[in-house]
Symmetry: C2
DNA sequence: CTATGTATACCGACTAGTGAGTGTAATCAA
DNA sequence: TTGATTACACTCACTAGTCGGTATACATAG
């Protein structure tokens, strides 16, 4: 019954998440985030040292749910590693057909902050993609594949390519084409096993 | 001997290109572009109706050289279609190791303008990627591949994935991993021919 | 059981600067 | 004369970040 009111800090991060993901980081002002959170800007700056700090919090918040979702899609899919990998892309195609879908938050942030290589947000993105790649590598290694690491890397590239291309042309068919490519690569590796 | 002085308009577009590509569209002001072009803001607005108009001109200017460069890389590479495709990624890996490299202008623009789906710049990006895909499809069809269109699409996804990932982690090894994946896919298709 | 201190969380109003875009009059070259 | 350009002042909305102050809670000292 206690509805677990989110803390002020969480409300700010949630507002930032909605706006930064939906509109882009540079397109959204700190004032807009504060207003959406129902908080004054002064309070926002009480909880976060700067906009950059808020950006970092926005990405950190997305890391775990993102990973969990992909893991779930993989686990719940029927078939072997190749089918499971393709299923991830299928689920993503479904998600990407919603208008509110705006690609991968980490990739878009790195595109926006390309002129700030050491930015905390970039580092968070790098770590997240590395976690992702390691997880895929573990899945593939469990199938007894020698080149699990290389394969995982290629699947991640396909995933991110699909993110980027579908964000551009809004055609989810590209997501499935990427899934088919991943399927080919994984089943090829399994056949060579 | 005539050094072919660029027109004022071209100087403005070149300045915009340097700054937009290097810093990001939203991070660069119209004043900064005018100053870099050695022109008053009023002159800039004589040639372009708005910043959005200038953004579109920036991307239009990059289309043809971009395509030409990739065509050249493909044409000059040794070997068959699979090797030639991989060579494109190798060349890109070399380009991407320069610090001034900041990924794909079209993809980064679509990430920055994700909240403006109908923006002219987005449309230019979509058309450019489509041209790219068609060109690859023609190359593969020339090898007598039935699934040239699907294959071209997958190669483009790998290319764009490599763009996105390497922009994030600045590790050109990912470019080569993508090239290896493209090589696998193309040579697999050739073997099934 | 008051009084004082201290830490957390919060706010309204503000600063100093930047954003895109405009108005206008003057200059320059063909 | 016409198209291109400059100089520069200007608008108006917005931007990241700050100043000074307040309300509450929970201490501990007298």
């Amino acid at each position: 019954m206690t509805s677990a009111e989110p803390s002020t800090r969480d409300r700010i991060v949630n507002a930032a998440s909605d706006l930064f993901y939906g509109e882009g980081i540079r397109a959204v002002s700190v004032d807009a985030v504060a207003e959406k959170a129902g908080v004054t800007k002064r309070t926002l700056y009480y909880h976060f040292a700067s906009k950059d700090d808020l950006i970092a919090a926005y990405l950190r918040q997305r890391e775990q749910p993102n990973l969990a979702r992909f893991r779930r899609w993989y686990a719940e899919a029927e078939g072997g590693a190749a089918e499971k990998t393709r299923a991830v892309f299928r689920n993503l195609a479904r998600a990407a057909s919603r208008p509110s879908w705006k690609g991968c938050a980490f990739l878009r942030t790195s595109a926006e902050l390309a002129n700030m290589p050491g930015h905390p947000a970039i580092r968070i993105g790098v770590a997240h993609k590395k976690d992702f790649e390691s997880w895929f590598a573990a899945m593939f290694a469990a199938e007894g594949l020698d080149d699990a690491a290389q394969l995982a890397r290629q699947v991640v590239i396909l995933l991110d390519g699909a993110f980027a291309v579908v964000l551009l042309n809004r055609d989810p068919a590209y997501m499935d084409a990427a899934g088919d490519a991943a399927f080919s690569l994984v089943s090829g590796a399994l056949a060579r096993r």
